[in-house]
């Protein structure tokens, strides 16, 4: 009886050690900015099944990596390699380009983001989103006086793609037009919000909050152009976030 009790106590004590070890480790997990990412050539020799699975595994890894570091130390050393790997192994995975470029721009590498989107557009010449995002990148990160015009040209290309939403030509018109910077920026960040993932949406809300007037009526006036450049449901969702705390 005593022997059995001792055995039970030993097992319970060991179980406690197991739980305690794991519980105390959650704080000290080092978010290493550098993750080992092999070059795509390593995998190109594999069968398509394996390439797809490796690409998907690294896609998930990339999403997690970005999420950890965007909240944490803002170090994204391995991100470019991950985006390259995902898009090379699965060149027909559109989300790889879209998320990858957004993440790279947040990581301070809009130049790489631009290249990724161009590669994506080569693979998906019939997807209006790619020239639309390229237009956004030129507008947001481009240098030089005619960046608006170059951005507008990208939107014009997007407008020529069959099946594109109606607001795309309106965006092109906005950028070609003589409207102010605020109007153009509001329109661009509205497009970023439309990308749909939580990071892009949060980024768009933050940027809009930074440039919009705080006074309610002025804010409403500044946001009015979005009515013609965003679907109603998405616009309502964005307005909900931008007017949080307002009466």
């Amino acid at each position: 009886m005593r022997g059995r009790l001792a055995l039970v106590l030993v097992v319970v004590a060991c179980a406690a050690v197991v739980v305690a070890y794991q519980a105390t480790r959650t704080e000290s997990v080092a978010a290493d900015p550098r993750v080992f990412v092999p070059s795509p050539e390593v995998f190109l020799d594999l069968s398509p099944s394996f390439r797809t699975s490796v690409s998907d595994a690294y896609y998930l890894s990339m999403v997690q990596y970005f999420g950890e570091h965007v909240r944490g130390d803002q170090e994204f050393d391995s991100l470019p390699a991950m985006v390259d790997l995902v898009t090379e192994l699965s060149p027909r995975f559109s989300k790889g380009y879209v998320f990858g470029s957004m993440a790279l721009s947040d990581a301070g590498r809009p130049d790489l983001a631009y290249e990724v989107l161009q590669r994506g557009f080569e693979q998906f010449p019939d997807d209006y989103r790619f020239p639309a995002y390229l237009g956004f990148f030129v507008y947001r990160y481009g240098q030089g006086e005619n960046k608006d015009e170059v951005a507008a040209q990208w939107y014009q290309k997007a407008a020529e793609i069959p099946g594109r939403p109606d607001y795309i030509p309106r965006l092109a018109a906005t950028l070609f037009g003589k409207g102010g910077e605020l109007e153009k920026s509001v329109a661009m960040w509205g497009q970023v919000y439309l990308a749909g993932d939580k990071y892009s949406q949060q980024r768009a809300v933050d940027e809009l909050n930074a440039i919009l007037p705080t006074e309610k009526d002025a804010r409403i006036r500044a946001l009015a152009p979005l009515a013609s450049t965003m679907p109603v449901a998405d616009l309502n969702s964005l307005l909900g976030e931008l007017f949080e705390g307002y009466e």
Binding site: L46, S49, F50, S53, D56, Y59, K95, D197
Partner: protein
Amino acid sequence: MKQVGAIALNTFKETIRDRVLGIIVVFALIMIAGGLWLGSISLGEGGRMMKDFGLVAVTLFGLIVAVFVAAGLIHKEVEKRTVFVLFSKPVSRTAFIVGKFLGLCATMAIVMAGMAAFLFVLVWIVDGGFSGMLLLAVLLIYAQLLVIIAVTIFFSTLGSAILASVLGICVFVAGQLSHNVLSLSRLGQNAATEALSWVVYVIIPNLSAVDVKPAVVGEQVVAWSSVGVWLVYLGAYVVVCLGLAVAVFRRKEF
């Protein structure tokens, strides 16, 4: 033919009633369900992740079942001396090998159908639709595993069950890398290594010649004629393996 049917049915009963099989399938379902969690962290690509990793799970667990059950099929009969019951009757060695193979094929079909049905339900929940490409992918995985079963049965006639299962797994892996062997054969510095590589290339089953996973996740279109030809090739490969197994098994005494 009746004997083949009787042995196949007996093998089916033997393998499907094995409790270990049930445990493996439960683990497979857990792993497939894990695709749901992966989907939740994929920013809206849950359908793709579910299909991709679901197929990986189906392949992996299908392979485990195929190899370990096939390796033990003949070994068990010899060890437990039930071969005396069989071969004291007018049962040919060919009927025995073919019956064992067909019985395990039936069991594999049930196992694969169970895993696939579960995967389809989860994909339908996540993606809202039924994917014909996914069904094709599962059927082609099943075809690959039938080849591995035949190969493992052949190895099991030569030696121990453990060795047969290890070799079965090795052949599966090698079969996925078949085109690498072909590339190697073409890089050969001399005719001898080139010829040897080519022989190895022919002997190893080409399990990756037709790969529909990119089509399942929407990245490619399937070339149907190549699927048909590949299935004929796999069928012929199975016949050769079983023929070799019969040739070896005929020499055995009990």
